[in-house]
C-alpha cells in the first residue's frame, strides 16, 4: 500500500468527496492560496475554485452559522477553524444551534456539517492556540466527536463524518499532520463509534486518544522489554463511544490506564473510567483505574514547560507500573 501523511489523508478524503459530491464545499480562514494554517487545503482552491474552497472573513461564529444555514438547504459544508481554541467564538452556533436543530424540528431538518479543526500542544503556540477542548463537545447531545490518530483512520473517519447527517466535530492533532501511514487510494469509510485495538496485550489496557495513542504505543514497546504486555485501545470517536471494545479489553487485562492530552480534570478520561466502573468489567479489575491527562494549567509557550504540562511516554510507563503493582484488596 501507499504511504501518505495524516495531513494528506485528510486532504485526499475531502478532495475525493468533493469530486463525487457537488454539495460538499469548504469554508474557513486562509484556506485558499495560503492552504490553511497547516497547509491541509493547499492546492485545493486550484482544483475546486474559490466557490467551493471559500476564504471567509475572520468570524468563527459566522463560519459556523453559515455552515449550519447552508447545511439546512441541503449543502454538506466542511468548515475549518484555524485553531480548535477558536471554537469558543462559535460556541452558540455549535452548542445551541447545530446540535439541537434536528431535535427541535422533530427530525424535519438536519445539519450535515463537519467541523474540522487542529487541536493540541507541542508546536510552541502557547495558551490560546494549544488546547484540547474535546470533552466540552462530548457533553453536548446532538454532536458527534471524532479524534483520529493515524493517517488511515483520518481518511476513513473523515469520509464517514462527511456522509453523516449530523454535525460532526473532527479534531486533527497538529503533531500528527506529518506522521505517515499506509492509506488506500480509493475512498473508504470507518464507521463512527468503532474503536480500534492498536496493539494487543494481556497485562494492562491503555485507552488513549489522538497523539497519546502513539505515546502509549511507544510506552508499550518499552514495557514489553520488561515482560509487560500492554493492549492499546484507540476509541477513535468519543461520541458515539465504542464501549464494548473497551469493556472487553479490560475484562481481558483486568487493568486500565486512560490517557489523553486534555486537562485531566473534567477530561474525557473520566467518562471512560466511569463506563468501566458501571460495567461488569468492574468486577474484573485487579487495580484501581488510573487516569493521565494534562496538568490543570494553560499550555506554556516555553518548550520544556509545554512538554511538562501534558503526559509523556515515561509518565505512561510509570502509570502502567503503578497499576500493575497495585492490587484491589480482596476479601478472604
Amino acid at each position: 500500500m501507499r504511504e501518505i501523511t495524516y495531513l494528506e489523508a485528510v486532504r485526499e478524503a475531502m478532495s475525493q468527496e468533493m469530486r463525487e459530491n457537488k454539495d460538499v464545499f469548504i469554508l474557513g480562514e486562509d484556506i485558499g492560496v495560503y492552504g490553511g494554517a497547516f497547509g491541509v487545503t493547499r492546492g485545493m482552491i486550484e482544483e475546486f475554485g474559490e466557490e467551493r474552497v471559500r476564504n471567509t472573513p475572520i468570524s468563527e461564529s459566522a463560519i459556523a452559522g453559515t455552515a449550519i444555514g447552508a447545511a439546512l438547504t441541503g449543502m454538506r459544508p466542511i468548515l475549518e477553524l484555524q485553531f480548535s481554541d477558536f471554537i469558543t467564538i462559535s460556541m452558540d452556533q455549535i452548542v445551541n444551534q447545530a446540535a439541537k436543530l434536528r431535535y427541535m424540528y422533530g427530525g424535519k431538518g438536519k445539519v450535515p456539517m463537519v467541523l474540522r479543526t487542529p487541536a493540541g500542544s507541542g508546536t510552541g503556540a502557547a495558551a490560546q492556540h494549544s488546547q484540547s477542548l474535546e470533552a466540552w463537545m462530548t457533553h453536548i447531545p446532538g454532536l458527534k466527536v471524532v479524534q483520529p490518530s493515524t493517517a488511515y483512520d483520518a481518511k476513513g473517519l473523515l469520509k464517514a463524518a462527511m456522509d453523516d447527517d449530523n454535525p460532526v466535530i473532527f479534531y486533527e492533532h497538529k503533531l500528527l499532520y506529518k506522521t505517515k501511514g499506509d492509506v488506500p487510494e480509493k475512498q473508504y469509510s470507518i464507521p463512527l463509534g468503532k474503536a480500534d485495538v492498536k496493539r494487543e496485550g494481556t497485562d494492562v489496557t491503555i485507552v488513549a486518544t489522538a497523539i497519546m495513542v502513539h505515546k502509549a504505543l511507544e510506552a508499550a514497546v518499552e514495557l514489553e522489554k520488561e515482560g509487560i504486555s500492554v493492549e492499546v485501545v484507540d476509541p477513535r470517536t468519543l461520541v458515539p463511544l465504542d464501549t464494548e471494545t473497551i469493556i472487553e479489553s479490560v475484562k481481558k487485562t483486568s487493568r486500565l490506564v486512560v490517557v489523553h492530552e486534555a486537562v485531566k480534570r473534567g477530561g474525557y478520561g473520566g467518562e471512560i473510567a466511569s463506563v468501566i466502573a458501571e460495567s461488569d468489567a468492574f468486577d474484573y479489575l485487579d487495580a484501581p483505574i488510573k487516569r493521565l491527562g494534562g496538568k490543570a494549567v494553560p499550555i506554556p509557550y516555553n518548550p520544556k514547560l509545554e512538554k511538562a504540562a501534558v503526559p509523556q511516554v515515561p509518565d505512561i510507563i510509570e502509570a502502567v507500573k503503578e497499576t500493575l503493582n497495585k492490587r484491589i484488596a480482596t476479601h478472604a
Partner: protein, 360 residues
C-alpha cells in the same frame, strides 16, 4: 426608496496632512507640535524600524520567539500612541508591541513577551495596558469595559485599542463599539488596515468600501486616515481623545497602511498572496521617507542625526536582549503560583511536589 450606502461611503475621505513627497497639503489640520516633538516622532519611527529589523534577525537566530513584523506600520502605530497621556490605557493586538514600548514597557520585557515569559506581561508601574491580544477581536469588547471603568471613576482618560482589517469581521468588533457608543465611554478604536489578514485581502473581508464607515452602525464617529502619514494619524487620534474625555463618545479610526514583512515569523510567505507591484506601490508611501523629507526641508533632520538614533537603538536592543537572557527561567512552580490568588489545595499539593523537584 432612497438609497443611502453610496452617499455614506462617499463621505469617508482619507484624511491626510503630509503627502508622499513630504509636503504639507492640509495646513489647517497641522497639529500643534514643537520642533522637538516633530523630531521625537522621527526618532521613534527610526528606532522602531531598527527594532523590527533586529527582532526579525533575532527570531531567525532562535533568540526571540513569537514576533509579528511592524515595518510599514510605524506612522499608524506611533502616531496614535503619541497622542496619548501616560494615564491612558492601551489594549494592543499582537503586532502592537511598539505602542507598549513607547508608553514605557522596557524593551527587555517586550523580548520576554516574545519568549512567552510571564514577566513580559507584567506591566511596570505607570504603564496602563494589557498584553498584546492574540484572539482576534477580544480586545474590542474589553476596551469598552476599560473605558467605562474610567468614566465611572471620573478619570479624564481614554482606552485605546487596536485591531486589523481582518479583525473588523469579528462580532466582538461591532459589539465593543456598540457598547462603548451606548455608554458614551471614552474609547478609541483603531483599525490598522494593512490590506491583508494573513493571506486574505481586505476586499474579500468585507463589502464595505471603507472600514471607517463601520462606525456609523454603532452610532459613533469614524474617520479614515492615511496611516503612512504620522501627522494625520496623530491629529486624528488627538481629536478623538479630546472628544472622548469631553463625554462625546468613542471614535473609530481606520489607518490605511501596509506591513512590508510576513504576517508573523512562523513561516508565512507573503509572495503566495501578494504581488511585488503592490509591495512596491506601498513602499513609495513609506512613513519614514516622507517624514524625513519634511523634516529635512525644515532643517530639522540630517543623516548624522538619523545614524545617532540607529546606533542608540542597536546598542539598547543589545543590552535589552542581554537583560532578557539574564532573567530567571520560568519554572513549573511559577506557572502554578500564577494560577489563582490563593492556591487551592490540589495546586498546593502540586506546588510542594515541584518545589521538591526544583530544589534538587
Amino acid at each position: 426608496m432612497k438609497r443611502t450606502l453610496e452617499n455614506i461611503e462617499k463621505q469617508f475621505e482619507t484624511f491626510q496632512i503630509l503627502n508622499e513627497e513630504g509636503k504639507i497639503i492640509n495646513e489647517d489640520a497641522m497639529p500643534d507640535l514643537s520642533d522637538d516633538e516633530l523630531k521625537e516622532l522621527m526618532h521613534r519611527m527610526v528606532y522602531t524600524r531598527i527594532l523590527d529589523q533586529r527582532s526579525i534577525a533575532l527570531n531567525r537566530q532562535g533568540r526571540l520567539g513569537f514576533y509579528a513584523p511592524t515595518a510599514g506600520q510605524e506612522g499608524s502605530q506611533l502616531g496614535t500612541q503619541y497622542a496619548l497621556e501616560q494615564e491612558d490605557f492601551i489594549l494592543p493586538a499582537y503586532r502592537d508591541v511598539p505602542q507598549l514600548i513607547w508608553q514605557g514597557l522596557p524593551l527587555y520585557q517586550a523580548f520576554l513577551f516574545s519568549r512567552g515569559h510571564y514577566h513580559g506581561n507584567q506591566m511596570p508601574e505607570g504603564v496602563h495596558a494589557l498584553s498584546p491580544q492574540i484572539i482576534i477581536g477580544a480586545q474590542y469588547t474589553q476596551a469598552a469595559g476599560i473605558a467605562l471603568g474610567m468614566k465611572i471613576r471620573g478619570k479624564k482618560n481614554v482606552a485605546i485599542t487596536y485591531t486589523g482589517d481582518g479583525g473588523t469581521s469579528q462580532g466582538d468588533f461591532y459589539e465593543g463599539m456598540n457598547f462603548a457608543g451606548a455608554y458614551k465611554a471614552p474609547a478609541i478604536f483603531v483599525v490598522q488596515n494593512n490590506r491583508f489578514a494573513i493571506s486574505v485581502p481586505v476586499e474579500k473581508q468585507t463589502a464595505a468600501t471603507t472600514l471607517a464607515q463601520k462606525a456609523v452602525a454603532a452610532g459613533i464617529e469614524g474617520i479614515q486616515v492615511d496611516g503612512m502619514d504620522i501627522l494625520a494619524v496623530y491629529a486624528a487620534t488627538k481629536e478623538a481623545r479630546e472628544r472622548a474625555i469631553n463625554g462625546e463618545g468613542p471614535t473609530l479610526i481606520e489607518t490605511l497602511t501596509y506591513r512590508y514583512g510576513p504576517h508573523t515569523m512562523a513561516g508565512d510567505d507573503p509572495t503566495r498572496y501578494r504581488t511585488e507591484d503592490l509591495d512596491n506601490e506601498w513602499e513609495k508611501k513609506d512613513p519614514l521617507v516622507r517624514f524625513r523629507k519634511f523634516l529635512e526641508n525644515k532643517g530639522l533632520w540630517s543623516e548624522e542625526e538619523e545614524n545617532k538614533v540607529i546606533d542608540q537603538a542597536k546598542k539598547e536592543i543589545k543590552e535589552a536582549i542581554k537583560k532578557a537572557d539574564e532573567q530567571p527561567k520560568q519554572k513549573v512552580t511559577d506557572l502554578i503560583k500564577n494560577m489563582y490568588e490563593e492556591l487551592p489545595a490540589h495546586l498546593q499539593e502540586q506546588m510542594e511536589e515541584y518545589k521538591a523537584k526544583e530544589s534538587k
